[in-house]
Each structure stands twice: as structure tokens, then as C-alpha cells.
């Protein structure tokens, strides 16, 4: 039996699509109860890795374990208790109310029709995210940032052990970004494990507990091994000229001005 305090263990996974390799023999571990960011450039395989962790894609090679359980052998219902997933894009077609959207997060607990307890769980989730005042609004009328918060509330209503978030801050303005990331930190303190793909390394470095760096279809190494916040290493990850400035024992990246 492998260690179960690891929320996620990825062993030698490879994934290809239409004859093109996207992940090449990837190994990684993610600790339970931490906020872990997956960083790297566009096309490095970040989102694909996250989708494999969430069971939306299956790797052709290797094994993914979620709290020690082989991911490939979980059915949708078992999986929904373990991992929740926030997609990068989501477009609702029908103008459902916010409350109805959040309620769909409870599907794993519901046979056919939601019960009062499911409604209560949704209300609690909306309260936690701070969107209870939006509950009767149409989801389709909301701004991108508000929609993102609704989908986070939906994840909390689902109540999985691990939240997997693909670019959660993309549509958010500056203050909503910090609001969301502080909320994530709060949730981690309460025992959740969160894994998020991020474009912006600075937000990740400010808020994250751990980091997985990806380049060329592989996870290069985790942030724990970045003892002195190696500028040369970050340059290889982001493939270009950049400067680093120290920040609370870590660094922030500044793009190089030509």
C-alpha cells in the first residue's frame, strides 16, 4: 500500500492525441492539504495533466492514484466524491439561476430530484464564496468573474477532497483574483487539497504552498527543490529573458523590457 497522505501520485504517465504526444513519462506527487500550482508555458501540458487528474482524460501509459486509489478504476460517482474540476471555459446555454447551477454540484448525491439537504448545501457553498446575493440572478447575465465564483461554489457544493482548477483567475479583475486566491488558501486551511493551473507565476508564488513546473511535456521538478529560487531555472521554464525580485523568501518575476 502506497502512502495515502499523498493526495495525488502520478507514475510514468504518457498521453497523446491524434498521434501527437502531449505528456511524456510524467511523474509527480501532490500532498494533501496544500495549495499546489502547476506552472509552465502554453502548450507545456498543464491542462492535460490536470484533466487526467480529474479523470476527464485517461493516460495511455502509467498510473494515476488519487488518495491511493487507481484513478482508472474509479466510476464517475466514486470519483465525484474525490475530485472536483473547474474547466477553463464553461458556457451555459440556458439562463439558469445561480442557485440552480450551484445545485448541479450535488448530482453525485442525488438520484433524480434534489432534496432539501442538497439545497441547504448549495446555500452554504454560495455563502462561503460570497455570492449568496446572486442566487436568483441568471447565470448567463453575470460577468465572467462572477460566473467563475458561481462555478467555485458549485465545486464546494459537490464537496470533493481535491479541487482541480484550470486557470481559475483568468476572467477575474485584480481584486477578485486576490479574493479568490485568499478563499482558496482558506479552504486549504480547512483541509481541502487544491491543485490549480496558472498562467501567472507571480500570483502562484504569492499564494501557493507548492509548485509543479512543466516544460516540453514533462514535469521538471517541484517547487520544494527550488532552494534559492533559482532564476536560471525559471528562465528555462518561461523560456526567455526575465528578472527576479525577492519576495518573502521567494521571488517575483518581472518581464524583461527590450
Amino acid at each position: 500500500m502506497e502512502q495515502v497522505n499523498k493526495a495525488v501520485q502520478v507514475r510514468n504517465i504518457s498521453f497523446g492525441y491524434n498521434g501527437q504526444l502531449i505528456l511524456d513519462d510524467v511523474n509527480a506527487e501532490i500532498e494533501a492539504g496544500k495549495l499546489t500550482f502547476i506552472l509552465g508555458r502554453n502548450g507545456s501540458g498543464k491542462s492535460t495533466l490536470l484533466k487526467i487528474l480529474g479523470g476527464l482524460l485517461n493516460s495511455q501509459e502509467g498510473v494515476t492514484r488519487i488518495f491511493g486509489k487507481n484513478s482508472a478504476k474509479l466510476n464517475v460517482s466514486e470519483r465525484s466524491k474525490l475530485t472536483g474540476f473547474l474547466n477553463q471555459h464553461h458556457n451555459a446555454v440556458f439562463p439558469f439561476s445561480v442557485e440552480d447551477v450551484v445545485l448541479t454540484g450535488r448530482a453525485g448525491f442525488i438520484n433524480f430530484i434534489p432534496k432539501e439537504s442538497d439545497r441547504e448545501a448549495s446555500v452554504q457553498a454560495m455563502e462561503k464564496v460570497g455570492i449568496l446575493h446572486l442566487r436568483n440572478r441568471n447565470y448567463t447575465d453575470l460577468s465572467g468573474g462572477e460566473q467563475q465564483m458561481v462555478m467555485i461554489a458549485r465545486l464546494l457544493a459537490q464537496n470533493p477532497k481535491i479541487l482541480l482548477l484550470d486557470e481559475p483567475t483568468t476572467y477575474l479583475d485584480f481584486s477578485n483574483q486576490s479574493h479568490l486566491l485568499n478563499l482558496l488558501k482558506q479552504l486549504v486551511k480547512e483541509g481541502l487539497t487544491i491543485v490549480a493551473v496558472m498562467h501567472d507565476p507571480n500570483l502562484a508564488f504569492i499564494f501557493g504552498d507548492d509548485f509543479l513546473f512543466m516544460k516540453d511535456k514533462k514535469v521538471l521538478r517541484s517547487g520544494k527543490s527550488l532552494k534559492a529560487w533559482d532564476t536560471e531555472f525559471l528562465k528555462t521554464i518561461y523560456h526567455g529573458k526575465l528578472e527576479t525580485i525577492p519576495y518573502k523568501g521567494r521571488v517575483l518575476l518581472v518581464p524583461f523590457l527590450n
Binding site: 480529474g54 479523470g55 476527464l56 464517475v76 460517482s77 470519483r79 465525484s80 466524491k81 475530485t83 472536483g84 474540476f85 474547466n87 464553461h90 458556457n91 451555459a92 446555454v93 440556458f94 439562463p95 439558469f96 439561476s97 440552480d100 447551477v101 445545485l103 448541479t104 454540484g105 450535488r106 448530482a107 453525485g108 448525491f109 442525488i110 433524480f112 430530484i113 434534489p114 441568471n138 448567463t140 447575465d141 458549485r154 459537490q158
Partner: protein, 328 residues
Amino acid sequence: MNNRNISILLYSLPIPVILVSLFIGPSQYATPGAILNMFFNIADNPGIVKSIVVDVRLPRVLLTFFVGGSLAISGCSIQGIFRNPLTDSYILGLSSGAAFGAALALAYAFLPVQLSAFIFGLAAVGLSYFMARKNRNVSIVSLILSGIIVSGIFTALLTMVQFFSDPFKLQSIVHWTMGNLHNASWGKLQSSIIPMSAGVAVLIIYRWRLNVLALGDDEARTVGINPGKDKIIILFAATLASSSAVAVAGIIGLYGLIVPHMVRMIIGPDNRQSIPLNFLFGGMFLLIIDNFSRTLSGFELPIGVFTMLLGAPFFIFLMKKTNIGWNR
């Protein structure tokens, strides 16, 4: 008025419409007065009046109600699973498949007309679905495209059958495709009510799942719903109900597209309410339209013509007037 009372009102609205419909018709014997007299046992010709109401109008009213309800509830479900407000079973090729099946049976009498219409309707939807399926995914665009292609194929085949038919058979084929309820009978009701009810029942049971599916496949899968399996069940139930309706009543064009939108304007998109209400309102509206078609002129216009002529302008009016949330 609170939500609960509004719901009760909406759900009970079809009852008076059904009752009133029994009083409406061209017969000079079964006038509203005569029917009332029958109930108080003071009618002049109780036998005729009773027979008109029980043997002619009641099966027609019930059949019309079930046909309208089945088309509407199927349209709403199909829009939900394909996340596409522009689709219904008609657009997936059901009607042209059914029309071809009916024409084939009318021309060559190898199968009962209803059964043949049902089989080919089902086949057309199945064909559209599997043609659109790629990598276990059914995209909205490819679905509409394959629906158009399948409709085109069956329409061409229908034209061929019509071309080779003699004038008498041709007339009955054309009449069938226009949609008609005037030869409703207890027999027709019996042969179609079981598949219609079965389809409708499954859709009502699965109504909340439609909310989950409407957010997208990934969004459904990650919260514990297998989208592929649920979609097949719902698509089959919707096709069962709507192809039985088309088989018995002919083509009632775009009805399954229009009613779900009207219901959404009234009660919102939450399928927990809108699915059952689609059945009730779909039945009720078709009954009202049929009442007009029975009384407005000396001869009966085919119901399919009427639904288009009345439904389309009404729909455009509602679309202009109400914010239904498709602006983005």
C-alpha cells in the same frame, strides 16, 4: 401571489381547457347546450349527443393533448441534452423519416402506417445522432448538419414514393404529411398512448438530470453523472414519445421547438418545472389550436398548417417582447 400558488395555477390550467374542448365542434346535435342538457338528463337526443362527445370528441381531445404534450416535452429534453435551443426531434430528421415511413406504408401496404412511421422516425433520429458522433462526442454543429442531411435524404425518398404512387394514394400521403387529428379514435389513442406515456414518464423522472447535462459533458462527469449514458436514455425516451406522436398525428412542424421556448419564458429554464409543464402546456396549446381549426371554417384545416400559422407569429412576438436570455 407566491410561487407555489402560481405553480398550482399553471399545473391545473389544462383541466378547464380539456373540459371546454369537449363542448366544441361542428356538430349541430352536440351543441354546448345539448351537452349540458345531457348531464341533467333533459336532452332531446341523448344517444347521439353522448356518442359524439364520448366516441368522437373525447378520444380526439385526449389524443391531441398527448400528441402536443409529447412533442413539447421531447423538444425540451432534446434541447437540454444537446445544449442547443435551436433543435428538436423535427430538426433531427424525425418528421421526414416518419413521413417517408408513412408514405411507404400507404403506397405499398406492407406495414401498418403508424408502425412504419414510428420505425422510420426512430431510424432517422438514430442515424442523425450516430452520423454526428465523433470521438464519443456529439457537437452541436455536426448534429444540426447531420439532421439536415438525414432530413434531406428522407425527403428525397418521400418524393420518390410520391412520384411513383397513383393519385389516390398520393392524396392520402400528402394529407398524412400535413398533420391531422380529425380521424382520431379510441383505437388510435390505444395504439399510441403507451409509448407516448412511457417516453414522457422517463423524461419526467430524468428532468433534473437535464439541468446537470445542460452545463456540458465535463461539468456533468465531474459531479458524478455519466453524460453519455444519460443522453442515450433521454434521447431514446424523447424519440419514442415524439415518433409515436408523429406516427399517429402526422407532421406538426416545429411544435417541439416553439413550445419549450414559450414555457421557458413563463417559468424559466429549470427543467424540474419546465419539463412537466411542457407536457401540460404542449397538450393544452395544441388543443386550443385544434379547437380553432375545428370551428373557424366549415372545413377542417390540417393541424400542422395551423400550428405554423398561429405558432410562428406568436413565437416571434414573444421573442421580441421577452428577454429570454439568448442575447449573449
